[in-house]
Subunit: 199 residues, 2 copies
Amino acid sequence: MPQGQPAVVPQDGLTTRQRRNRPLVMVHTGIGKGKSTAAFGMALRAWNQGWPVGVFQFVKSAKWKVGEENALKVLGASGEGGRVDWHKMGEGWSWIQRDSEQSNEEKAREGWEQVKRDLAAETYRFYVLDEFAYPLHWGWVDTAEVIEVLANRPGTQHVVITGRNAPAELCEFADLVTDMSKVRHPMDAGQKGQRGIEW
Amino acid sequence: MPQGQPAVVPQDGLTTRQRRNRPLVMVHTGIGKGKSTAAFGMALRAWNQGWPVGVFQFVKSAKWKVGEENALKVLGASGEGGRVDWHKMGEGWSWIQRDSEQSNEEKAREGWEQVKRDLAAETYRFYVLDEFAYPLHWGWVDTAEVIEVLANRPGTQHVVITGRNAPAELCEFADLVTDMSKVRHPMDAGQKGQRGIEW
């Protein structure tokens, strides 16, 4: 919970209000728990502001994070707060022809292409690019291009990117980077993941 | 996202299923962002399982985290998923006489006393003790007592405790500890917190 005054007042020609409302790029990385979970927690705040929220889930399994997905869909449809769209690579992305047989690499690129279109159109005000650090790390999507697109995105669009091994250039570019470190995990003591906790 | 097999299969006389469903104590600590946010994200999964969720917010201001609060209240009242009760120290706790003039230390103790009663009664299946690490760190609530109560809680009750400076004994006792480290924060660049992002 950050409090008080910023350490430095930058000479950027912006008023405090302009600086305060500057759109952010955020990265949650590291080997610990909570990277995606914290991103979806942030989405609750965005929803509460009435902002349209777009989730792009760059994972293979369509069943991962079904708890967060159901919750955000119920919120988005509640008539309060903002709209929520949840896009899943694991289902082949909703805007793609169902009969296409794409590799995960191609799917990841298709996801990024849609994010680019939505950023250009200002479709959402808060984006969760969940597990997007992986296709960047693997070189499936070009990190330099992502940084350029994010740097030049119009309007007030916040973007949070999650996943282990976020590229150093992306972390350097981002406004906020949090590293989730594992201190202790039940799997160390022989416990497997469980319903309601891990998914 | 933990995957695969646990490193060790303990000789604890439990079946895999028993071990899998063992209730957890989780701690989110460290100076970075996302400690509470990840806890509320976890609450989405618990809600999605239909579990009753109890949030105890050990903070002074009743306005903090209003986004998460509104979202979880809408979810709890949606008719889907589990019930959600949100208790706020910043409003003097709902079960306390309104005209009582208590110190924050007394309020924190009152909060813990209610958590004890709810654990004994198995009121919830998922507890968020938000910012509870602070009264423990300050010695307002006795860490050894908390550990004893948690160790002996009945049934299947998961508990997540957030806040900086979680006591070492608590981290030693917990099943899962995640340390959120700050790598980069917009306040370092002179930016203040903003609506929809920080609250």
